[in-house]
């Protein structure tokens, strides 16, 4: 499966018309062509019908409903009541909401670059040798599979709690800040550590990208006397920029939506769902609290739409920026 990949990444050119796949061998007569086209359309929509039903029922419909709820007061039991922009003004005026935005932005801004740096660094290291590469690749990937589970979140909570292993280790180095999960300022870093621990998934994608860089380029550069750093900067980085873009996009969007690990690592302490003094109250945690614990479905919908707008903005900025730094191979 991985052997036939080319340079062009998934995000490039969403249109599929670049190469016709089912062009008839000989152009048939117009009537036959028309009949055939109708048959293709019918088949297409029959095959697509589960997806279309799902899209209307579970994606498009709910999005419209959510937009409507965002302007209403809705507690699930009484009919939604239109209140205009009240949810939004309450949200912006709510210090807990602003705090959750801050926590989330901090988590995204620190966790995502660290995770991607780890992924790229380790991918570069692994790419240097073929012996043992498959083993290390698999071992480093494993955390990405289990990292989202409740089990790992519980283990994380234990590892970073007071007097536990991290606390004791840092004391050996004379750092006495206590366990991270009990500290409102530190708990977010235990979540950052958890996401960095899962660097394996983007690493695998980087490795696949590195494998595609033609060796001749390095050889030519070496003949020209380019040093290691220069070769990395002028060859490796531009050549893998499409996969870098893909990883940045997906990891950033993903980070904005962190929920389970924050809810479990932060939860438990006196019924507080979002960590000590809201220390791990990421955006979706607060959304969950408002919607499902306080039954404020209207307000929570408004919050969800703000998240959507934020993610859409980040996506748009990234797509806009890719013209400047992402290099796509021509005619790949």
């Amino acid at each position: 499966m991985g052997t036939t990949v080319t340079h062009a990444p998934a995000m490039e050119g969403l249109s599929q018309d670049s190469e016709p796949r089912h062009g008839p061998v000989k152009p048939p007569r117009p009537a036959a062509l028309k009949r055939r086209r109708r048959r293709e359309n019918l088949a297409g929509y029959l095959f697509m019908s589960p997806w279309i039903a799902g899209f209307l029922l579970l994606t498009a419909g709910p999005m419209v409903a959510s937009l409507y709820f965002a302007f209403t007061d809705y507690n699930l039991f009484d009919a939604p009541k239109w209140i205009g922009l009240d949810n939004f003004s309450e949200m912006f005026g709510d210090p807990r909401w602003r705090h959750s935005v801050q926590v989330t932005l901090w988590y995204v801004a620190v966790g995502t670059p660290l995770k991607l740096l780890a992924a790229l660094g380790v991918a570069l290291l692994l790419a240097q040798s073929r012996r043992g590469q498959a083993f290390y690749r698999a071992a480093f990937y494993a955390p990405s599979l289990i990292g989202a589970s409740v089990s790992v979140a519980i283990v994380w909570k234990a590892i970073f709690s007071d007097d536990a292993i991290v606390d004791r280790t840092q004391k050996l180095f004379g750092v006495d800040v206590g366990g991270w999960t009990g500290d409102p300022d530190m708990i977010i870093y235990s979540l950052v550590a958890l996401t960095v621990w899962q660097f394996g998934a983007p690493m695998v994608i980087f490795l696949a990208g590195l494998k595609q860089v033609p060796r001749e380029l390095y050889e030519a550069a070496e003949v020209d006397g380019a040093g290691k750093l220069r070769r990395f900067w002028n060859i490796t980085l531009p050549m893998i920029s499409p996969v870098l873009f893909f990883n940045v996009l997906l990891e950033t969007i993903h980070s904005f939506q962190i929920f389970s690990s924050a809810y479990i690592v932060g939860g438990g302490a006196g019924g507080n769902a979002c960590g000590p003094a809201d220390g791990s109250m990421v955006y979706t945690c607060y959304l969950y609290v408002q919607g499902f614990e306080n039954s404020r479905m209207g307000l929570a919908s408004a919050m969800a739409w703000m998240l959507l707008v934020a993610v859409a903005l980040v996506t748009a900025v990234l797509f806009w920026s890719q013209k400047r730094w992402v290099h796509y191979e021509e005619g790949a």
Binding site: M1, G2, V5, A10, E12, R21, H22, E40, N41, A43, G44, F47, M48, P50, W51, G54, L57, T59, P62, M63, F69, L125, A127, Q128, R131, Y136, A138, Y141, S144, L145, I146, S149, V150, S151, A158, I165, R168, I205, L207, A208, Q212, R215, Y218, E222, K228, R231, F232, L249, Q257, F259, S260, Y263, G268, F292, M297, S301, A304, W305, L307, L308
Partner: protein, 287 residues
């Protein structure tokens, strides 16, 4: 760390040694929590936290034997069976619905295909939380709370764009001659899909099946919102209930249970890691 080795390394011994030492160091950091859990699950609760030893001097098994008593009078096997039902149900749904959609995108030229494809890619980037509340309201009005329908329906309606995309890339790489020949022989799309394309797509199907199983097994937010009777709980929810009940006191039992909950995922990983990693690697590249 640089890419120099990509082009020039002749595997001089010191370089190779440094490479292995570096890789092993990273491996140690990665595996540390896992080894800590295994060791800790054989410790007395008060020793789990508060001791730097990885493995206990006098290992005990009571953390595991105690799991036989179940959680809140519900046997652990109930949670496992519930999770298994959901995971297998999800796998069947994803394989059928996503492969149908992928086939349409890859092999049928129908009007509006590009528009639908763009919409599908859009859902790939859409934060799930926007759909959370309206979907909950929808399923609540349909009186489906506390059933598995809300957790499974989307899987049968191809809402997981990632798998559609994965299968589609695979199908587009199949030799065109095969289905063209079948068409000339008068085969319809359904025949081609079922008898030619699906069997050839086995690797993509296996990758999707394993990812789906693991995602469904790990899923926490879905069950948290839709299930409210403990005997319907999945392993994830059972685990959370266990933690809330025992609080911080019972670290030993907690991590023993965590480990047991992870076993199916780890088993799948060990058996199929090649499929998972290749699937992941391809997702960033156009096949």
């Amino acid at each position: 760390m640089s890419s120099a080795g990509l082009s020039t390394s002749r595997h001089r011994l010191p370089g190779s040694l440094a490479w292995h030492i570096g890789s092993l160091l990273i491996l140690a950091v990665i595996l540390y929590p896992v080894i800590w859990v295994i060791g800790g699950s054989f410790k007395k609760s008060e020793d789990v936290v508060g001791s730097l030893d990885l493995f206990p001097g006098d290992p005990i098994t009571s953390n595991y034997t105690r799991l036989g008593e179940g959680i809140a009078d519900i046997s652990i096997s109930t949670f496992f069976l519930n999770s298994l039902t959901l995971a297998v149900g999800s796998v069947i749904g994803i394989l059928l619905s996503c492969s149908l959609t992928a086939y349409a995108f890859a092999k049928i030229r129908f009007a509006g295909r590009n528009l639908l494809f763009t919409l599908m890619i859009g859902t790939l980037l859409l934060p799930y939380h926007v759909l959370l509340i309206p979907q909950y309201v929808l399923f609540r009005n349909m009186e489906m709370i506390n059933t598995y329908t809300p957790l499974l329906l989307g899987k049968y309606l191809a809402t997981e764009a990632f798998f559609v995309f994965l299968m589609m890339q695979f199908m587009r790489n199949l030799p065109k001659e095969l289905d063209e020949a079948a068409r000339l022989d008068g085969c319809g799309h359904l025949r081609i899909y079922w008898s030619i394309v699906l069997p050839l797509c086995r690797p993509a199907l296996i990758t999707s099946a394993i990812f789906t199983f693991i995602n469904a097994w790990n899923d926490f937010m879905g069950p948290l919102i839709y299930l409210n009777e403990p005997d319907k709980y999945t392993v994830s929810l059972g685990l959370k209930m266990f933690v809330d009940q025992e609080g911080v006191a019972d670290y030993g039992g907690m991590i023993a249970m965590s480990l047991v909950a992870l076993l199916p995922v780890l088993a799948f990983f060990l058996a199929f890691q090649r499929y998972l990693i290749d699937g992941m690697a391809t997702s960033g590249l156009k096949g």
